[in-house]
């Protein structure tokens, strides 16, 4: 190995690489529309929000937050929810941000147990109190959503078949080969549906249920996009499966302009409730700013924007939903649930058991 060269020239070369990188960095921001970078200080400083790649909120709300608080909000997406939590765990001694949004109930206990979060008791709306995790308010619930089996109603009426309603129905012979699900090892709705069956049939019973699903020719896709757009037979999809694991919030987007009924529906007896949390990162450089971010996420304006930006329901039930949602996307009244602590303790075992069961 060219070690001698390397050590002799390492220092000037690193400097050179950095200089090179510096030019490049400057080039990439000089174009105009790039976001304000960490350095350009607003009077109150910068607060960094770490989140997952589905995070989205209207620009107007972000500007409003910045002008109200004097802070500059720097949003950084770090992959999907799982990747984000794991990155936070690995960097907890030198956190990459101040606040976090998007830790869901399947990863909540891992984050709390690892000591990623600092306690912060935000003022919660009544409807949010049932979802708290952590004894001292490490995680603040922001939004909820249901993962449910969706049905293509046109397909069922065309084939003159009753739309199934419960998890048990899905194992009946008349629904053989009609259901597409996602792999829980690679997809968050896939994991949520696995948890729905754990919630419904218990830690001992879910495997028996899945054996029946496999016998009934369940189709497994790697991701939501794959299952929904390739396997599902719904109006915007090309596939031949009239049943797919998706969200309670999916049907409104399938309603044609001017129509009075939805072509798809979520089966509300098959749902698992997902909850997304925000929190203040332990060791944050700007903990006060982080608290303001958490409060902001709970504010009525942000809560009202959540459905159309992120396809989730505001945790504050006093906030009005878009009309298409009240009409076509009701939440389940009795979703299945598994406690975050239990999920953290068993998720790896469950996924592995599921894999050997379904893959064989």
């Amino acid at each position: 190995m060219s070690r001698s060269i390397r050590t002799r020239w390492a220092v000037p070369a690193v400097v050179g690489a950095l200089a090179l990188a510096g030019c490049a960095g400057a080039g990439s921001t000089s174009g105009g529309t790039a976001s304000p970078s960490g350095g350009s200080a607003a009077p109150g400083g910068t607060v960094v929000l770490v989140t997952h790649d589905s995070f989205a909120l209207p620009d107007a709300l972000i500007s409003q937050f910045e002008s109200d608080t004097g802070l500059t909000l720097d949003v950084r997406a770090q992959g999907d929810a799982g990747a984000m939590v794991n990155q936070l765990v690995l960097t907890k001694d030198a956190p990459i941000g101040d606040a976090v949004f998007g830790i869901d109930n399947t990863f909540a206990s891992r984050a709390v147990d690892a000591g990623v979060l600092a306690p912060y008791q935000a003022t919660l709306p009544d409807s949010a109190k049932q979802y708290t995790v952590g004894d001292s308010g490490e995680l603040t619930p922001i939004d909820v959503g249901d993962v449910c089996v969706n049905a293509d109603l046109e397909w069922f009426s065309k084939h003159d078949l009753a739309v199934p309603s419960t998890l048990e129905d899905l194992t009946k012979p008349e629904y053989k080969g009609l259901l597409a699900v996602e792999n829980p090892a690679t997809s968050s709705p896939g994991l949520a549906f696995l948890l729905a069956t754990v919630g419904a049939f218990g830690a001992d019973g879910w495997q028996g249920y899945w054996q029946e699903l496999v016998a009934n020719d369940v189709q497994v896709a790697s991701s939501w996009s794959d299952a929904y757009y390739v396997d599902f037979s719904g109006p915007s999809s090309d596939g031949d499966k009239p049943l797919v694991v998706s969200y309670a919030s999916s049907p409104p987007d399938e309603v044609p302009d001017g129509a009075t009924s939805a072509p798809t529906t979520a089966l509300l007896n098959t749902c698992f409730r997902q909850v997304e949390y925000a929190g203040v990162l332990a060791g944050a450089a700007n903990p006060d700013g982080a608290k303001k971010v958490v409060d902001w996420l709970l504010s009525p304006a942000v809560q009202a924007a959540i459905p159309e930006s992120m396809y989730m329901y505001p945790v504050d039930s006093s906030v009005a939903l878009p009309t298409s949602w009240t009409k076509y996307a009701p939440l389940a009244t009795k979703p299945f649930s598994v406690s975050p602590a239990e999920i953290t303790a068993h998720r790896d075992d469950w996924i592995q058991a599921w894999t050997s069961l379904v893959v064989g």
């Binding site: 060269i5 080039g27 939501w224």
Partner: protein, 550 residues
């Protein structure tokens, strides 16, 4: 001498800081339990039957994918770089398009063709090894065509002509004169394709079906979902071993054949399939390439194009109009994302070309001392590693190690410069592999003669190496640009939500329900494809202009 050391040192430091350090840092964590070294993970992970199954699949899919890409790519390289016909420039640009398409979109397009009531459903390839291999060839075909084509254009045809004059059949002349001369370029292309295939992620997940796993997907699952760094580290080491072994094999094949070749100005005969000038080899090349372009490349791309034109109210351009709108909370419109992509790609290409140019220059020399020769060979191989290591390992590694590295007063983990740098790290090996075979084919006596005649080293570079290198530079710039435009793995960790690149925007759109979102995602993919085709075509022109120098 000092200059050479600098030329070698800069790329090594670049790679050391932005690749080796993060990877070693993360893998190292997996082998440390409570502060002491713990290698028991090896025994545990390697005793799982699943580990061996995924290793077998990884090597299997990469070997088969590479072999098919090379077999199909050589006729393509001949047709697109050794002959002339109308529409050739367009075709060259088109075959490059798959290379940048986001895997999630290609996955959906491929499955639409292969599953349910798709046009090729009868093959039964959905969720099988064959489906994965087909997609791998789809992505990597252009790598073979370009790498071999760039080399082949400048190859002296007189050897083959002499063989023909001496009575060899065209097939025999190709087999015993041309093909051996092409081996360095083929080995170069094959090693790149092998690495891409071995570390393919998205297409394997989407097309392989449940239970199909490779070392790459397993590392991703263990790192991002289970946070089992012990298993992930063992698998990363396994991945490195596979990659190193394949580079060693390719390097041997290359070196055995590598020789100074007399290179000539391009002379590309007009393609003739009939009449007195018709050649049997051309007909075969046309037949193979037409089949590849229509069936393998065309079907998924046409599927994509058609879906981009399908809207809620029938056929139309609605999805393209939607590209101008900032979707609710998406951070940017399609056009803005395209602008971001281009801007980042310019930076990434600049970095990649400087770093890779230096590597190629150093690696093209054959120093007299054996130790130095070894060092140069090692450097060449080391620069390839980024293609063979998981983007997740690098991404997580950056977070773990680049907070004030070497005591520098910067937190590089979240710096905006990291995005073009990460893309450049992936592009460097491709640029090296395109430029290096060409540089190595320069007769070293030319350098010596120039030096004897009193030319300074800089002058030798300017008048001997540069004119030859410049020819392949256009291609290299095009490839680097394409890598940057299409990169998703590392980008998804580094990009800012307020300024997404086009692939990131597509990924977000396709994760949302409804015909509008899907249609806009498809239209954005077509935009990405068009952008790539234009950039590639421009890069080709760059090549044409400087080619006249020789």
């Amino acid at each position: 001498m000092v200059l050479w050391a600098l030329a070698a040192g800069l790329p090594l430091a670049f790679l050391g800081l932005f690749f080796v350090l993060p990877v070693v840092g993360l893998v190292g964590r997996g082998f440390v339990t409570d502060g002491s070294l713990d290698l028991s993970g090896f025994a545990e992970v390697m005793s799982r039957p699943r580990t061996w199954r995924i290793l077998e699949l990884t090597v299997g899919q990469a070997t088969v994918g590479t072999a098919i890409a090379v077999l199909l790519g050589i006729p393509g390289a001949h047709l697109l770089y050794r002959t002339r016909f109308r529409g050739q420039a367009l075709l060259r640009a088109l075959v490059a398009v798959p290379f940048v398409l986001p895997t999630i979109v290609v996955g959906v397009a491929f499955r639409s063709v292969l599953s349910g009531h798709g046009p090729l459903a009868f093959l039964g390839w959905d969720g099988t090894f064959a489906g994965v291999v087909a997609a791998l060839v789809f992505f990597n075909y252009t790598v073979v065509v370009r790498t071999v084509g760039a080399f082949w254009t400048g190859l002296d045809p007189r050897g083959e002509q002499a063989a023909r004059a001496l009575g060899a059949s065209p097939a025999r002349a190709f087999w015993s004169v041309t093909l051996p001369a092409l081996v360095p370029a083929i080995a170069s292309a094959a090693s790149i394709v092998f690495l891409f295939c071995a570390t393919a992620f998205g297409v394997v997940l989407v097309l392989g079906g449940v239970g199909y796993g490779t070392v790459e997907t397993e590392i991703w699952v263990q790192t991002t979902q289970f946070l089992d760094l012990r298993a992930a580290s063992v698998l990363s080491v396994v991945q490195l071993v596979v990659v190193t072994a394949s580079l060693w094999v390719a390097g041997r094949a290359r070196r055995r054949r590598e020789q100074a070749l007399s290179r000539v100005p391009e002379s590309r005969p007009v393609l003739a399939l009939r009449g007195p000038d018709a050649r049997g080899g051309d007909r075969l090349a046309v037949a193979v390439t037409a089949a590849v372009v229509v069936l393998l490349l065309g079907l998924p791309m046409v599927t994509l194009l058609l879906r981009s034109l399908r809207t809620r109210d029938g056929w139309g351009l609605g999805n393209y109009r939607a590209l101008g709108v900032r979707g609710f909370g998406l951070g940017a419109s399609g056009w803005e994302a395209a602008a971001t992509s281009l801007r980042v790609a310019v930076d990434a290409t600049l970095i990649a070309v400087v770093v890779a140019g230096l590597v190629a220059l150093v690696a093209s020399r054959r120093p007299r001392s054996r130790g130095l020769r070894r060092a140069v060979g090692t450097m060449d191989a080391v620069m390839m590693l980024p293609l063979g290591v998981s983007a997740v390992t690098v991404g997580f590694g950056i977070l773990v190690t680049l907070n004030h590295p070497f005591g520098l007063a910067v937190d590089l983990r979240t710096s905006p410069m990291l995005l073009p740098i990460a893309q450049a790290v992936v592009a460097v090996p491709l640029v090296v592999r395109t430029v290096l075979p060409v540089l190595r084919a320069i007769d070293s006596r030319l350098h010596e003669a120039a030096a004897v005649l009193g030319a300074s080293p800089a002058r030798v570079l300017r008048h001997v190496d540069w004119p030859v290198a410049a020819r392949s530079l256009g291609l290299a710039v095009g490839l680097a640009f394409a890598v940057s435009l299409g990169e998703f793995g590392a980008t998804s960790f580094l990009v800012r939500p307020s300024a997404p690149t086009l692939p990131v925007l597509i990924y977000r759109l396709i994760g949302r329900p409804g015909a509008d979102n899907l249609g806009t995602a498809m239209a954005a993919s077509v935009l990405l494809a068009a952008l790539t085709a234009v950039v590639m075509a421009l890069a080709e022109r760059l090549r044409g202009d400087t080619g006249g120098d020789v």
